[in-house]
């Protein structure tokens, strides 16, 4: 029985993943792109002349350039800020370390509109930071304009993404063998030399992985670019696509632009990804972690630097989230639970509870689906010949790079003509979220997967350990932290996702982000913050629960 299972399971997962990816993403997209413009019968969606005309306009080229540029810098800065964090997590133990490591995905839970308002509350001209500086130095005018320029865009994106970079890089750093750094030290090399020539090449795959994720995320960013960037001074392609698809109803133009955008993005990334497949760290037995408070008492300069980073990163990463909590408790300059009381009050039209339930079940189902899908794709990737692997990785990344607005239209089109009414909306929502989440899942898990020492497989074969048992006692403990993080991440993405839910829009899939939008559009700003806080709390609770059950199984 178990032999049959272990032989069939990988194949089954792989086929499931292929079906979901092709049926859920590529089929609707190809049907839409290959067909006629639904609004102009007889005109095909993909028009080369449109593309050429677009590219001939220097203004458009500038927009295109800026889209890539801001995504590039956002990714670079997130990694630069995340790197010291990864080092801190690898080197030191300190109170709250586990929480810092676990909740790196929290910013992704909040719909971007709430993050924008949080950034304004915290970094705005009248925000917390400026208020503090003004009262500290007795100034009348806000001293620093953080937002409303390219800086604002970068600040917003780094807030979202640096914890992710920290987590991804830290995961790999921990697995670097101590003997490399010990050897370097014995040879008399300086710590800097050690980092640049020993550590850096070994963690490069995870740095590139983090870069890929963050780059794509920022490329599709929308509200942050508009609001925190100071309006149209900084326009990106995604804004143009949104305008074409939503306002001008020019689906053909929007489709052409999103192909252009995602094509460019994938091309850039494949160039980068090409290098990291050659790397494989071999053994992992890292140095024992030092207790940070002791090191501080010993006046170690690097420990104090670490502490400085910790304080800065916590202020930056937690500050805007705290601003939301604070905002949900404030009304007309007084503290009150009102916003929460309204949410939990029993009344006829209370939709909060159903939204809570919908968010929970869609999030959980899609995170499980994304894990299965991701595992299937992982198996597929491993089975594909090496020369085809880059292409396949590109195909897997495309759902992430492709504009969700256009994907939404394509999907709606398919639903219209083929599916209508035959599949329940709940499963459609869960599947869509899984498809959107699985590229992230894969990016998170791949570096850990590829870092599995090759001799483990050999050793287990020599010792005649059955494969399932090998999985359970060797691979699962190794992969568990990463798998849990990836699960939490997929869950968070689903909880915060809005576009595809808006497209389906039905009471049965009405989720919390929609509830936040509704509250905002009805002037209930504090209530929107309260829903956001509940979203955060819910995810923290669920994630702890999942982790606890996984630990109990051990």
């Amino acid at each position: 029985m178990s032999q049959l299972l272990e032989r069939l399971l990988p194949g089954f997962l792989q086929i499931l993943a292929m079906l979901l990816l092709v049926g859920g993403f590529y089929l609707p997209l190809l049907l839409f792109l290959g067909g006629q413009d639904p609004l102009q019968p007889g005109v095909s969606v993909l028009r080369l002349d449109y593309l050429l005309e677009f590219l001939a306009d220097p203004w458009n080229l500038r927009v295109l350039g800026f889209s890539l540029e801001q995504a590039f810098w956002s990714a670079v800065l997130s990694i630069l800020l995340g790197l010291p964090g990864a080092w801190l997590l690898t080197r030191y133990d300190f109170p709250g370390r586990a929480a810092l490591q676990r909740f790196a995905y929290l910013p992704f839970l909040l719909p971007s509109i709430l993050v924008v308002l949080a950034m304004v509350l915290f970094f705005g001209n009248q925000g917390w930071v400026n208020q503090a500086l003004m009262s500290l130095f007795g100034l009348k005018e806000p001293p620093v304009q953080f937002l409303y320029s390219l800086n604002g865009i970068l600040l917003g994106h780094v807030f979202y993404n640096f914890p992710l970079a920290m987590r991804l890089i830290g995961d790999q750093w921990e697995r670097i063998s101590a003997k490399y750094s010990l050897a370097a030290r014995m040879l008399g090399h300086s710590p800097l030399y050690n980092f640049l020539l020993v550590t850096l090449p070994l963690i490069l795959p995870s740095i590139l992985g983090a870069f890929t994720l963050i780059f794509l995320l920022c490329l599709n960013s929308f509200a942050i670019i508009l609001v925190l960037g100071g309006g149209v001074r900084h326009t990106t392609i995604e804004v143009l696509i949104y305008q074409l698809a939503r306002i001008d109803l020019d689906f053909s133009g929007a489709a052409v632009l999103s192909l252009l955008q995602s094509g460019l993005a994938i091309f850039t990334l494949l160039l980068l990804l090409k290098q990291h497949r050659k790397q494989r760290p071999i053994r992992q037995q890292s140095l024992p972690r030092l207790w940070l408070p002791d090191q501080l008492r010993l006046r170690r300069p690097e420990a104090w630097l670490g502490l400085a980073w910790l304080v800065a990163a916590l202020t930056f990463g937690v500050g805007p989230l705290l601003a939301i909590v604070f905002d949900s408790l404030r009304q007309a300059d007084a503290f009150t639970w009102d916003a929460y009381q309204v949410l939990f009050a029993e009344r006829e039209n209370n939709r909060f509870f159903s939204a809570l339930w919908n968010s929970f079940r869609i999030g959980l189902t899609s995170a499980l689906l994304a894990s299965l899908l991701g595992a299937g794709l992982l198996i597929w990737l491993e089975r594909v010949p090496l020369r085809l692997r880059a292409g396949l990785e590109g195909l897997i990344l495309l759902p992430m790079a492709f504009s969700t607005v256009v994907f939404g239209v394509a999907w709606f089109h398919l639903n219209q003509s083929w599916l209508a009414g035959s599949v329940s909306l709940f499963w459609i929502a869960a599947a869509l979220h899984a498809i959107l989440g699985c590229p992230y899942w894969l990016r998170l898990v791949l570096p850990t997967w590829r870092a599995i020492p090759a001799q483990w497989h050999t050793e287990s074969k020599i010792l005649c350990i059955p494969r399932l048992r090998f999985w359970r006692i060797v691979l699962w403990p190794w992969l568990r932290p990463t798998l849990l993080l990836a699960f939490g991440f997929a869950f968070a993405l689903s909880l915060g996702e809005l576009n595809s839910i808006l497209m389906i829009a039905d009471e049965t899939v009405r989720t919390l982000p929609l509830e936040i939008y509704s509250a905002l559009s009805g002037y209930r700003f504090h209530q929107a913050s309260a829903v956001g806080v509940i979203l955060l709390a819910m995810s923290v609770g669920l994630f702890l629960l999942v982790e606890r059950t996984a630990l109990l199984r051990e």
């Binding site: 509109i113 304004v120 937002l147 509200a223 100071g230 939503r246 709606f412 509704s518 002037y523």
Partner: protein, 337 residues
Amino acid sequence: MLKQKLSRWLAGILLSTTLALPAFAQDLVVYTYDSFNTEWGPGPVVFKAFEEQCSCKVQVIAPGDSGSLLSRTILEKANPKADVLLGVNDSELAKSFKHDLWEPYRSPNLDRVPEELRLDSEYRVTPFDYGYIAFIYDSERLSSPPTSLADLSDPRFAGKVVIQSPKTSSPGLSMLHWTVAVYGEEGYLEYWDRLRPNLLTITDGWSSAYGMFTKGEVPIVLSYVTSPAYHVEYEQTERYKALDFPEGMFRQVEFAGILKGAKNQQRAREFIDFMLTSGFQDVIPLTNWMYPVAPEKALPDSYQAAVRPAKTLTLSPEEIEENNERWLRSWSRTMAQ
């Protein structure tokens, strides 16, 4: 004995199916924008009132904002799921006409609506509410507010104003049209060029802009003349005030109509009739924060905080359809400098 039992069973089954039927059958399907059908919006009240009146079942589908609502309806034009589309504004009208979405119907109740709001002479769509976009200011943070649209571009308001992008938001688009109506084709870009330094930022939608305003980031925001009424009604404060500009205020009208190929034409007509009666109209002021087109009751007291514009400005739907793309394109390029 057995026979009797069996027939009782049968009767029971029959009865339960007939009872269950009305609950399952949809007698009317309405598409509307999301915020119309939220807990605090007019949806829950007005659809329930209509269900009671017609003793039928209404299914409401609310996919996103009014822009995505229209695009969805156009996409499924060949096989419409909805009978009524509620919530198309005047700047989107021409687009809906171009795609031939509507089944004309003139409600007998249309006579209650002021002549100037009946914008469609072919009765494809029927107005249900209207409003004016306006700049709202925070009187606790700004002692001398702008006195006119021209004054708004004065350097003393540098970085003090937030508006929405005309490319992504409906009040934002109306603001662009407003400047075209005031300054004409020759002057509107020049005006925007002057206004630009005063805009702290341009947001994607109304919510981000108004949120920045109520959280104290800017003292002036683009919204609606009726916004102050909300703060009077629910927060008992007159702190936020709407500005009536002498150049004239730009009007937005919202419409509903019956879709071509709708399955429940008769019910749809009844709904359009109902839309112009008290059960719908008098709910609008405190839920949708717009003026009803045919109110039967007096407006709520809080509406005294909403200014009644001295002069109204509009552009015709045809003019908008013809020029909109060009206006937007020139606008983006002026603003991106």
